[in-house]
Amino acid sequence: MTFNRRIAGIAAGTAAAIVLITWYVMSWVTSFPPTVMAGTTGGVTNVTFQTVPSYGHQPHPDWVSYLVKNTQGQWVHSTVVQVPAHSLVRLTIYQFDTATGLRNPLWSQPRGTVGGTETINGKPVASIDPTLTSHTFAVPDLGVSVALPGVGDNAPNQCSVTPCALSMAHTTITFTIRTGKPGHYRWQCFVPCAAGFPNGFGGPMQTVGWMDGYLNVA
C-alpha cells in the first residue's frame, strides 16, 4: 500500500468515526423529551400528569410511563416540566395503573407538600397502604415524595393505550408543593414498577420521559 493510500484510508476512517459519533450524540440530544410549560392561574401553577401501565405506542408500547398535559390541554409524552421559582405548584395526577407496592414503606407518607398531605379522590390522607401503591412522584432535592395508590386489579374499564380518558378506571391524587430557587430538579418514581427489568428498576425507570424526569424551576 502506498503512503498516499494509507493516509487516505486513515482520513476516511477518522471521518467515518466522527460522523458516527456526531450522529449518536445528535440522536441522543434530539431524542430528549420536550419541556412542557406549566400554566399559572390565580397565582398558582398547575401541573397535570397521568400515569399509565403501558404507553401503547412505539418505541416501547409496553413500558410504564408518565404523561403531562400542556397548556392547550393535550397530553404530551414527556416528564420535563417547567415551573416558576418561589411559587406554589399544584399537581394533579390521574393514576391509571394497578398497585405494585412500595419497596420501602417510608415513601407511603406524603413529604414536602404544603400541609404534609395529599388528597386521594378529594380526601386528604396522611399516608397510604404501601402495598396498594402504584407509583410515587418524588423530587429528592426538594424533599418531595408523594405515593400514588393504584386502581384495583379487577377494576372495570382499565386503560391500555395512552392517552387514557378520565372515563377509565383511575385514582385522582392532588397535592401542592412550593418551589425554591431556580434549578433543574430531577424527579423519579420509587416503586419498582418496570416489569421485566432487574429489580424492577431498568428501562422506563432509568429513562427520562418515562418514569423520571426534570422539574425545571425557572
Partner: protein, 285 residues
C-alpha cells in the same frame, strides 16, 4: 552508564545528589504544605487516622516518584543519542550492590506500608476499626456500649436512615450526635450502592441481603457530605445528601421531632432487621 561494581559512576552520583536534594524538599512540602489539605480531614478519629496514613504514604512515595522522574529526565538529556548515526548503547552488566539496595529498599517500603496500613485499620484513637467494622457475626471490633445504631438503607436513588433505638423511625436526613460512637449498619434494598460519608472517613458497600458495619465517632459539629460511591444506575450521580453532626441536646430534639413527623410512615415500616427482602416485588423481574 556504569559497569563498575566498586565505585559509583559520575552519572549515578549526580542523579543521587539531585534525587536527595529534591526528595528532602518534596517530602517537607508534602508533609507541611500539602499534608493539611489531604483528605478526609479530622472530623472523626477514623478520618484522622486515614488522613495521617495518607500523609505518611504520600511522604514515602514522594522520594520514589522523584527518583523515577530525576532518572528519566537525566537519561533523556545526558544519554540522548545526538547526530544522525544511531548506535546501540554500551552493554549493561550487573551491579550487585545497586541491585541489592533496590531489592532491600523496595521490600522494606512495601512491608512497612503493609504493616502500617494494618495498624491504621485496627488501632484508632477510639479502638474502633478504621473505615469499617466488618460484616456479619465476626466484626473486626465491637463498638462501645451505648453506641448509637444507625441503619443506612440504600435504594435507587436515595439514602434513608433508620434509628432502631428511637422506635425504629426512618428519616431522609442523617443526623448524628457529637462525641458519641455511631455504628452504621449499611444495607441495600435493590442493587449494590456504597455509603460514603466523606468527612467522617466512612465508605461502606451497601449490598442487598448484607449488613456491613462501620463504627465512627464524630468530633466536630457541622455538616458532612454523603455520596453513593458505586455506580448504581442513571441517577447515581444525584444520590447524595448532607449529614449533620449536632450537639447531644440538639440531636435529642431532632430525633424527637423526627419520631413525630414520621409517625404515619413508621407504622407501615417492617420491624427493624439487619437486612430486608421487601415484599411485594411482583414486577421486580
Amino acid at each position: 552508564m556504569t559497569t563498575d561494581n566498586t565505585e559509583p559512576a559520575p552519572d549515578l552520583r549526580r542523579v543521587g545528589v539531585v534525587w536527595l536534594v529534591l526528595s528532602v524538599i518534596g517530602v517537607l512540602l508534602v508533609i507541611f504544605a500539602l499534608g493539611p489539605h489531604i483528605p478526609p480531614g479530622s472530623a472523626t478519629a477514623q478520618a484522622h487516622e486515614q488522613h495521617k496514613a495518607n500523609v505518611i504514604i504520600s511522604a514515602i512515595l514522594t522520594p520514589i516518584a522523584i527518583g523515577l522522574l530525576v532518572y528519566f529526565a537525566y537519561a533523556l538529556t545526558v544519554f540522548r543519542q545526538r547526530g544522525d548515526v544511531i548506535e546501540d548503547g554500551p552493554p549493561i552488566h550487573g551491579n550487585s550492590r545497586l541491585q541489592g539496595a533496590w531489592l532491600i529498599g523496595t521490600v522494606t517500603v512495601v512491608l512497612f506500608l503493609a504493616a502500617y496500613g494494618t495498624y491504621a485499620l485496627y488501632a484508632t484513637e477510639s479502638s474502633a476499626a478504621g473505615a469499617g467494622g466488618g460484616q456479619g457475626a465476626t466484626l473486626i471490633s465491637a463498638a462501645p456500649a451505648g453506641a448509637l445504631q444507625v441503619q443506612v438503607v440504600s435504594q435507587q436513588w436515595q439514602f434513608t436512615f433508620r434509628y432502631p433505638q428511637y422506635g425504629g423511625v426512618e428519616t431522609t436526613q442523617l443526623a448524628l450526635p457529637l462525641n458519641r460512637t455511631v455504628v452504621f449498619h449499611v444495607t441495600s434494598l435493590d442493587v449494590i450502592h456504597s455509603f460514603w460519608a466523606y468527612q467522617l472517613g466512612v465508605k461502606v458497600d451497601a449490598v442487598p441481603g448484607a449488613d456491613n458495619v462501620a463504627d465512627v465517632t464524630p468530633h466536630k459539629l457541622g455538616t458532612f457530605n454523603v455520596r453513593c460511591a458505586e455506580l448504581c444506575g442513571v441517577w447515581h450521580g444525584a444520590m447524595a445528601t448532607t449529614g449533620l453532626v449536632l450537639s447531644p441536646s440538639a440531636f435529642s430534639s431532632w430525633i424527637a421531632q423526627q419520631r413525630v413527623k414520621n409517625a404515619p410512615a413508621t407504622r407501615h415500616l417492617p420491624p427493624y432487621h439487619s437486612v430486608y427482602y421487601p415484599d411485594p416485588i411482583e414486577r421486580a423481574g
